[in-house]
């Protein structure tokens, strides 16, 4: 199969047999209690230099508390998949945690753009759809998948995709390489202690992310009995053996919202946007919301407060479809 065009963007390749060997030996088959504090989950499973992926977004059902913990533990040289990122990459970059980003959609605010313009954060271009497709390839254990997107664009030139001639029908087609993140972070509404997890509402690719990732950390609003899982198995989004750690994190998406439970905190986003205009303001933001508090629990207690939590909970009046 002749390669007609090859993108120049940086990415890493996973050997599918090495991946299978990892899945064979490292993913626990027994149902064991995986509940642990966020600090332990991040200490165990997020290493300097890791490739990290998450689902869904800063605004909706995103793993914000886990990302704050990664920053609090001052991981460095991380590469993030931004199927889309809104505040995550700004926080991580300002915290000195980030080496590069697979874009997707690179938000939010002026500061992250400045980091890229100054060459302090590397970027490989993809699209939301092709990043999700790379996770699907990773989740299937195949080295790549074809797509009719990306073709004939500079996005492709600065991606890691290749264009080949379809060996069956002959038309040019783009191939995107699988991605197998070192760590996947997924925030969910409900999960049992073993890691059987339920996402309600739309998401980007929670199952693909959990399957493709070598390690998956679930943060959950609620821990439910396995009996509830067994009574309604079609509600299970991610089965337990894909999951390495379960972190109980009520309001874990804040300042984003979790569907059916609490709305996003729009005032906080305005504060974040204002802080993302320059590095000093963002340093103060990081200090206030991350470094000066020891945990997500303390973040909620000291920085958000019960009145605000209650107000956001009351705003979440739409429950249909989220239980």
């Amino acid at each position: 199969m002749d390669v007609l065009q090859a993108g120049v963007g940086e990415f890493s390749v996973t050997d599918p047999d090495e991946l299978r060997a990892f899945m064979r030996t490292e993913k626990q088959r027994e149902m064991v209690n995986k509940v642990m504090p966020e600090a332990e989950a991040v200490r165990r499973y997020v290493k300097d230099g890791d490739y990290v992926s998450f689902d869904f977004s800063s605004f909706t059902r995103g793993p914000a508390s886990l990302i704050r913990e990664i920053i609090r533990q001052r991981r460095t040289h991380l590469w993030f998949a931004a199927k889309f990122t809104l505040m995550e990459t700004t926080l991580l970059a300002a915290g000195g945690c980030l080496r590069g980003v697979d874009v997707g959609f690179l938000g939010l605010g002026r500061l992250i753009s400045k980091f890229v313009e100054e060459g302090r954060i590397k970027v490989t271009e993809w699209t939301n759809g092709t990043l999700a497709l790379r996770h699907l390839a990773g989740a299937m254990g195949v080295p790549f998948l074809p797509t009719r997107s990306l073709l004939a664009t500079d996005t492709l030139t600065y991606s890691g995709a290749k264009v080949v001639q379809d060996p069956f029908a002959g038309k040019p087609i783009a191939l995107v390489p699988a991605v197998n993140p070192d760590v996947g972070l997924v925030h969910v509404q409900q999960c049992d202690i073993y890691g059987n997890a339920r996402c309600f509402g739309p998401g980007v690719s929670p199952l693909e992310t959990a399957m493709a990732s070598k390690r998956t950390i679930i943060s959950t609003e609620e821990i439910i009995p396995i009996d509830d899982i067994r009574k309604a198995p079609s509600k299970t989004t991610i089965p337990y053996y894909l999951v390495d750690a379960v972190v109980h994190a009520p309001y874990g998406c804040l300042p984003g919202g979790t569907q059916g439970l609490y709305e996003m905190d729009a005032a906080h986003f305005l504060e974040f946007m204002s802080a993302s205009r320059d590095e000093q303001a963002m340093a103060a933001y990081l200090d206030k919301y991350i470094y000066s508090v020891a945990s997500h629990e303390e973040f909620l207690e000291k920085r958000i407060g019960p009145a605000r939590l209650l107000a956001l909970k009351r705003q979440a009046v739409i429950k249909e479809g989220y239980q």
């Binding site: 977004s57 605004f59 959609f105 690179l106 271009e125 009719r148 996003m264 979440a316 739409i318 479809g321």
Partner: protein
């Protein structure tokens, strides 16, 4: 508001909404396209089906419109299905999605769109923007794509600094198909704050189809970095109707965060 009774954003949104066909499956981009879609849904296109990149299909968004989040419960209210990103882009690739609606940082003569960088050096851009998001998929896969963009010289450029999402490429016949893109797809209309454009069937160049009532052709051309073709019969584009403005101002965006004109 320059003495007129509506803002530029309001006109763009109304124009864009008028282009959305009732009964079509329509891929809706982030921001202004969302507002246009809600407006269309509440006026002439109650049967149009909104499709979002994270997989929600057929939402009837609650208003007032919530800024920032697209995947939140108010915007995804009363959907017929919540699928996933891979599922929904597969459906676009399959040929099921009739229209796409997108914003753009820059657009060129052949409808190529840039939402990645401004500047000549990719590695040291003058300005970095969010990048493709799902726009590349939408413009590659949907049958017809409407681009909604403010009418500014810096946005209408002879050649975009970076082709994020493919228009008619270099304009040569069959350029998209030769590259492997789905046949008979591409940009269809460009709705701006002053004018409406299409693309010439033969040359694939942007062609001026209509001008907002009260403006001249020159008023639109002087705000462009290239001269488009001009249709032999130009449509006079009606300003927003009272009903369009009522829905925008009272139902969708009472804070005027997106439609503008607060305090006027």
């Amino acid at each position: 508001m320059n003495g007129t009774a509506f803002t530029e954003a309001e006109f763009m949104i109304c124009q864009c909404a008028r282009l959305i066909r009732d009964g079509a499956l329509v891929f809706i981009g982030y921001g202004m396209p969302q507002i246009a879609a809600i407006l269309a849904q509440r006026l002439h296109a109650p049967g149009m089906v909104q499709v979002y990149e994270f997989g929600a299909v057929g939402a009837l968004p609650e208003t007032p419109f919530v800024r920032f989040t697209m995947g939140g419960p108010r915007n995804c209210y009363r959907s017929v299905a919540w699928t996933s990103m891979n599922t929904i882009f597969a459906q676009a690739q399959l040929g099921l999605i009739d229209m796409g609606v997108l914003g753009a940082t820059q657009i060129d003569r052949f409808g190529n769109i840039n939402s990645t960088i401004v500047g000549r050096d990719y590695h040291r851009p003058e300005k970095r923007f969010p990048g493709s998001g799902g726009a590349n998929e939408v413009l590659s896969q949907c049958w017809q794509t409407v681009v909604i963009v403010k009418h500014e010289r810096r946005r209408f450029v002879e050649k975009v600094d970076f082709v994020t999402s493919p228009g008619f490429l270099d304009g040569t016949p069959g350029a998209r198909e030769r590259a492997g893109l789905p046949k008979d797809t591409g940009p269809w209309r460009v709705a701006t704050s002053k004018a409406l454009y299409g693309f010439d069937d033969r040359t694939r160049q942007m062609i001026l189809l209509g001008v907002l009532q009260g403006l001249s052709v020159d008023d639109t051309l002087k705000e462009m970095g290239f001269t488009p073709l001009i249709a032999s019969t130009l449509e006079e584009l009606a300003p927003p109707t009272a009903e369009e403005l009522r829905i925008l101002r009272e139902e969708i965006d009472p804070d005027r965060a997106i439609i503008g004109g607060a305090g006027d």
